[in-house]
């Protein structure tokens, strides 16, 4: 796979300033994020850690343009995205972002190969045979070369998460966002998936932001960002 983007690896590819977000309705509304600022550079791995409810995932969804902040700004590759409309944010997700979730979210009616090809089909950058070759190569890189034609529900949990990683890398995104990517896996699979995720992203020059409860995995990242009550502690 070719490295993402053409900018130097040290440039911040993802940046946010003074992000605020409240969730819930009426009296149950909670101020989850209270002015978070953050920057991520290519080729570096960031781990967000903290107790449940501290705002890690909320921040990740905001950074991934899956949610809109109440206040504050987000820049992706130098372009301000936080106030853009849904169509622009959707297009940016397609071009710049890859997601890995705790529950892999494979489309179970599709094979591993087809799942990996789905983002490429939407982006439309490659032709059909090129997309197939890329999908095969990505699945091979996560150790699933022999299982490309298995349906999602014919794969184990660890295998499904590896397909999800391959899918997240399919469009050569500059940013990879992972929400508890190993939270649903045993120790052996956790280590393997984490190594794959960080190894491939570093090799491709992608910024990785991982939300995790696992202190061992967090310790293996380039940066650890502890969070509490909607703010980074450092």
């Amino acid at each position: 796979m070719s490295p993402a983007g053409a900018r130097p690896l040290g440039d911040p590819v993802l940046r946010c300033e003074d992000l605020h977000r409240s969730l819930g309705q009426g009296e149950g509304r909670v101020h989850v994020l209270r002015g978070v600022s953050f920057a991520a550079r290519r080729g570096e791995v960031y781990a967000m850690v903290g107790p449940s409810g501290c705002g890690k995932s909320t921040l990740l969804y905001l950074l991934g343009l899956l949610d809109v902040p109440d206040r504050g700004e987000i820049w992706i590759d130098g372009q301000r995205m936080s106030r853009d409309d849904d169509a622009a944010r959707t297009a940016a997700r397609c071009r710049h972002l890859g997601f890995v979730f705790q529950f892999h979210f494979l489309l179970l009616e599709f094979t591993a190969l087809e799942n990996v090809m789905l983002p490429m089909r939407k982006l439309g950058r490659w032709g059909p045979s090129e997309m197939q070759d890329r999908a095969h190569a990505l699945l091979a890189s996560v150790g699933l070369a022999s299982k490309t034609h298995r349906l999602g529900n014919q794969l184990s949990g660890g295998e499904q998460q590896r397909v999800a990683i391959a899918r997240a890398l399919a469009n050569e995104p500059s940013i990879l966002l992972a929400d508890e990517p190993t939270g649903n896996l045993d120790v052996r699979n956790s280590a393997m998936v984490f190594e794959l995720l960080t190894g491939l992203a570093r090799k491709n020059g992608q910024a990785i932001v991982v939300v995790t409860h696992n202190p061992e995995l967090a310790a293996r990242c380039d940066h650890t960002l502890p969070m509490r009550d909607g703010l980074f502690l450092t």
């Binding site: 995932s57 899956l66 972002l97 979730f101 979210f105 983002p119």
Partner: protein, 416 residues
């Protein structure tokens, strides 16, 4: 194949039984709509063919005479104007005084393909069995064959015999049965105190009970002599090339010729309204199936949306737009709809063919010995159009709901 269509195709398998149920409803809705339209339209067309073939497309009868008119004198520069307002009216003078002149005028209308001068009157018909009241129609045979299906309505005997026999008659089948007359039998007609003897040349059956029970045809000259009407005619029967234009032509003739003219649509308005009401009511009844198909599709897609919220979220996170999501769900509905429409059209055609073979004896307003069906592509197009409107309208709601889902909410687990 587009990506959205590919995804829709796979999602179809998520609720296979529910989709099959929707498919069955669409198939039934389309099929039954086609069958009911084919049968009601078939009988209606046959009725129209019968009445146009018997009484003609247009009938020109009494002369219209304007009676009183509103008069108005224009106000001049040196005199005052005045207006005499009266209730305007028209008087009908029975029959046609100069049929040849009128026929010459009628034949100048572009849509007219034939005219027949007819003189009719009431007579008493006597056979050796009994007497019956009847109506004599005096015609020139060749003229009348141009404006009616009389030639095809002969069930016994021969028109050639009528043509060659001055005292020959064509007798309605029910009238012949009542008087126990057969081809070649003699009978008497009494009109105005005079009695004459005639012979049955042929027996005809129009299928219209009221006509077959009291109508008999004579040569026009013989009818004039019997009814003592040496000149004039009762009406002119007119045939036209495009019978659907008969109403406009009749109105035009009435205005130009000064005689009342009635089209077949006007004369048979009651029956035509009955057929129209029947067709509409059966359409509404069978459209219930399509409505059920729409509701079934709505339910199925709503369930699929609920089941696939996470798939929707992941597709949205990959860059699939709200429009893509709407299309994925509308494609599912469209695929089931297309399959249902094809199967429904096949079912409709098959059942229509089966029905056309069914025997049924109908007498009264027309004569039929089996179900009459009409084959028209419009029935199929209408059935498909109704199902498209109902199913796609019902599918739009869940599809739009799917598109409105926020991926962040779904992944966080708070999507409603």
């Amino acid at each position: 194949m587009s990506t959205n269509l590919r995804i829709a195709l796979r999602f179809l398998t998520a609720r296979r039984k529910a989709m099959v149920m929707s498919l069955a409803c669409i198939t039934l809705g389309v099929g039954l709509f086609v069958v009911t339209q084919a049968t009601t339209t078939g009988f209606e067309r046959f009725f129209i063919k019968t009445i146009v073939g018997t009484n003609g497309a247009i009938r020109i009868e009494d002369r219209i005479q304007e009676t009183l008119r509103t008069m108005e004198a224009e106000r001049g520069s040196d005199a005052s104007g005045f207006v005499v307002e009266v209730k305007e009216g028209r008087k009908y003078i029975q029959g046609i005084q100069d049929p040849a002149l009128l026929i010459a005028a009628v034949q100048r209308f572009a849509n007219v393909s034939g005219t027949s001068e007819v003189l009719y009157g009431s007579v008493e018909m006597r056979s050796s069995f009994k007497n019956e009241a009847a109506r004599v129609y005096g015609i020139h045979l060749d003229d009348h064959l141009q404006v009616s299906d009389l030639g095809r309505q002969i069930v016994r005997g021969d028109l050639a015999d009528f043509r060659l026999t001055p005292a020959g008659t064509l007798v309605g089948i029910k009238l012949a049965e009542r008087l126990q007359l057969e081809v070649g039998d003699s009978f008497q007609l009494q009109a105005g105190g005079e009695v004459r003897r005639y012979r049955v040349s042929a027996i005809f059956e129009t299928g219209v009970g009221d006509i077959d029970k009291d109508r008999l045809f004579l040569h026009l000259g013989e009818a004039r002599s019997l009814l003592r009407r040496p000149t004039g005619a009762s009406f002119i029967q007119v045939n036209v090339v495009d019978r659907d234009r008969a109403t406009q032509d009749a109105a035009h003739m009435e205005a130009v010729l000064g005689h009342s003219a009635s089209s077949w649509q006007e004369r048979e308005r009651t029956w035509l309204d009955v057929f129209r009401a029947l067709r509409l009511s059966t359409s509404i009844t069978v459209s219930v199936f399509t409505l059920i198909a729409g509701i079934a599709m709505y339910n199925t897609l709503a369930l699929v949306v609920m089941e696939k919220t996470k798939d929707i979220a992941i597709l949205r996170s990959m860059g699939y737009t709200r429009r893509d999501v709407t299309r994925i769900f509308l494609w599912q509905a469209a695929m089931v709809l297309a399959a249902g429409a094809v199967l429904g059209c096949g079912l409709g055609a098959g059942v229509t063919y089966g029905v056309s073979l069914m025997r049924i004896r109908i007498r009264g307003i027309f004569t039929a010995d089996h179900f009459i069906v009409a084959w028209s592509v419009w029935h199929y197009l209408a059935a498909v159009a109704i199902s498209v409107v109902m199913v796609m309208a019902a599918s739009l709601l869940p599809a739009r709901r799917a598109a409105r889902l926020e991926p962040g909410d779904i992944i966080r687990g708070t999507a409603q």
